[in-house]
């Protein structure tokens, strides 16, 4: 097979690749179970241990954990697929997104770490509850966190499914078609349940090693095999300039954003960046760091991942030059398969297996972290707050484990019901929702000027606007709702990311309602934090909470 002739695709099982994939998968699952013993705690029967790894992770483990969160099936499957199908505006914005991310978290994450350390907060909803004494606002933040996590986990499942499908598992009938999905789901559920956050932390090392290996090989080897970068960019430019299949009046996509797309590109990047560290899982990973400055030091070394992400995005264009035909086992084209298919066509089978494993594990780790974080949130901020306030630590850990399963099950529902043709939309849809909690969390780290009901009103309006607007985006190719994440920004007549528009509306509503309520002198609740809490570090004592409002201090041990 020469480089420019696409291989026969989607035909049958690739035995060698599948075997390598399964072996690596078994290895990782074994590590997941072993992880319970790593940095062993006295008891796993508490949320602090199961869900935060005992809050003992230093710079490197935190780096791997955050990387495990951020660079996922989104990076490996969804972004290259978007580059392949629609070009730079839909895909390459992920590069500026993951660059501006770090200055953004640098600014506020240390404060959140400090106040969480002092008061034992595990979730952003804990913080909001403590800051405003408001169960309602805390509930809004928790529900949004859990809801927004589901499509993000769904994206990971789509990634694993893509790999298994290209490896030849599954089939064309309805049951066999989703079989790979259910296998992936079951594996994930099993080891997350037993080991909590330690499992993904341990596996993250293997995952990153595999991913770097595959990326380096892919980036060095594939471009030469398809005729060099010059040819790759030419092929991409040609494809993007061709009339679109769905709407021949428009080009297929964007090679480089034109001046009508600047807003779309910038708002996608900034909206995603502001949203990412509002997800429960990103916050969980940040809070599991062992000191205030771990996060900031990390913020300056994490961009290494952004570089890798950019290279992976370009694989979508490498696939254009290689003439990859991502066709599913049901015989229909499916852009999500493009990277696994490229690997299968171009690599020797055994290495294709390694690459498949890298992608699958790279989706599994974040999916585990996400479901654990969503479970933490449910347990602390919904179960304990609203359902069973007398719950013991063991109760909490038990409920947390169960909810991590339920969240994954809902993610499965997202995969089975929503439009999968552009999986990147799963992440963007999650972003629309989660960004609406930003004012309640981040603004509140700095000020209590905003009124709790103002924040709640802003959140509600942002959520409703974002959901309705996203629902009304219909994919022209499939006719399904939630078909994209760009819509007209009211008042400037430019397309932009819905999340950011909803965010601005959210803030405007919050400001107006705050002005009114402050004028009416409505109570803004009791604040249990003090200014010094926002600057606390690892050695500082924690605030012990009693049932009375009396506050006293204990020694610094958790």
């Amino acid at each position: 097979m020469t480089a420019l002739v696409p291989a026969a695709t989607g035909t049958g099982v690739n035995g060698v690749a599948l075997t390598v994939l399964i072996l690596l998968f078994v290895l990782v699952t074994g590590m997941g179970f072993w992880a319970t013993r790593w940095r062993r705690a006295d008891s796993m029967e508490s949320l602090e241990e199961w869900g935060l790894g005992g809050r003992r992770f230093g710079t490197w483990v935190t780096w791997f954990l955050l990387g495990g969160d951020l660079y996922t099936a989104y990076t490996f499957v969804a972004v290259p697929a978007a580059m392949f199908a629609l070009g730079a505006v839909s895909g390459f914005f992920a590069v500026p997104y993951t660059i501006v991310l770090y200055p953004i978290i640098f600014v506020f994450m240390a404060r959140l770490w400090s106040v969480s350390h002092r008061h034992g907060y595990v979730t952003p909803a804990d913080f909001v509850r403590g800051r405003y004494d408001s169960k309602g606002l805390s509930l809004a933040v928790s529900i949004t966190g859990i809801l927004a996590t589901m499509p993000y986990i769904a994206l990971q499942l789509v990634g694993i499914q893509a790999v298994l499908e290209v490896a030849g598992l599954g089939g064309s009938n309805a049951l066999a078609k989703d079989l790979p999905l259910f296998i992936a789901f079951a594996l994930l559920a099993a080891y997350t349940y037993s080991s909590g956050l330690r499992a993904p932390a341990v596996i993250a090392f293997v995952k990153d090693a595999l991913i770097y290996l595959v990326i380096i090989v892919a980036i060095v080897y594939l471009p030469t095999k398809v005729g060099g970068w010059g040819h790759i960019f030419d092929a991409a430019q040609q494809k993007m300039a061709k009339p679109s299949a769905a709407n021949p009046a428009k080009p297929t996509g964007a090679f480089i954003p034109n001046n009508q797309q600047y807003w779309a590109y910038a708002t996608l990047a900034f909206g995603s960046a502001l949203a990412l560290f509002m997800y429960p899982h990103s916050i969980t990973a940040s809070l599991s760091a062992k000191s205030r400055n771990t996060i900031r030091r990390n913020a300056s070394i994490l961009p290494a991942y952004s570089f890798v992400l950019g290279l992976l995005a370009l694989l979508g264009w490498v696939a254009i030059a290689a003439g990859t035909k991502p066709i599913g086992l049901d015989g229909k084209p499916n852009a999500q398969l493009v990277v696994p298919q490229l690997f299968e066509d171009m690599f020797p089978s055994w290495f294709a297996g390694v690459a498949f494993a890298a992608i699958a594990i790279g989706a599994l780790v974040p999916a585990a972290i996400m479901s654990i974080a969503a479970a933490n949130t449910f347990t602390r901020n919904i179960y304990k707050e609203w359902i069973k306030p007398s719950a013991s630590y063991a109760d909490e850990a038990r409920v947390g484990k169960l909810v991590s399963l339920v969240v994954k099950a809902f993610a499965l529902v997202f995969v089975l019901t929503l439009d999968k043709s552009q999986a990147i939309n799963f992440q963007l849809l999650g972003g629309i929702w989660i960004l609406q909690t930003f004012p309640s969390i981040v603004f509140s780290l700095y000020t209590r000027w905003f009124h709790r009901y103002g924040l709640l009103a802003g959140w509600a309006v942002g959520m409703v606007y974002g959901t309705i607007t996203a629902y009304n985006v219909v994919n022209p190719a499939t006719g399904k709702h939630f078909g994209g994440s760009l819509a007209m920004i009211p008042s400037i007549a430019q397309m932009g990311y819905i999340a950011l528009t909803a965010f601005v509306i959210n803030i405007i509503v919050a400001v107006i309602v705050t002005l009114v309520l402050n004028a009416m002198k409505v109570s803004n609740g009791r604040d249990e934090t003090i200014k010094g809490d926002y600057f606390a570090d690892a050695g500082d004592p924690r605030v012990e909470k009693n049932l009375t409002t009396d506050v006293h201090l204990t020694t610094g041990t958790p």
């Binding site: 200055p103 640098f106 300056s300 290494a304 009791r526 604040d527 200014k531 010094g532 809490d533 600057f535």
Partner: protein
């Protein structure tokens, strides 16, 4: 706002404002540069086969990393940690709004 009463922890620990502002500027530069899409949305000058649009953004990965590290050093030096020792005053009960 800082206070000379070191025991009261319901205050912001003192910091070198100039260094904090410098850190803020370092953090703002990459954001402004990347938000200004019009400044880099073009094909030339190419770097090898890479269009300007692509390599310029890759360049910012490194620039941003350096700037964030610079900001980290500045912030760390600007506000030395003020330990929250046991003799701190607790928040008076009944205080509601600030």
């Amino acid at each position: 706002m800082s206070t000379d009463n070191a025991v009261d922890h319901d205050t912001v620990p003192p910091a070198n404002k100039g260094m904090l502002v410098a850190a803020g500027v370092l953090l703002a530069i990459p954001m402004i540069a990347l938000a200004w899409v019009g400044s880099y949305s073009k094909e030339t000058p190419k770097l090898g086969a890479f269009p300007f649009f692509i390599w310029y953004q890759f360049l910012w990965v490194f620039l941003c990393s350096f700037m964030t590290y610079g900001a980290y050093r500045l912030v760390k030096a600007a506000r030395p940690h003020r330990p929250m020792t046991g003799d701190m005053t607790t928040r008076p009960d009944g205080e509601v709004d600030r």
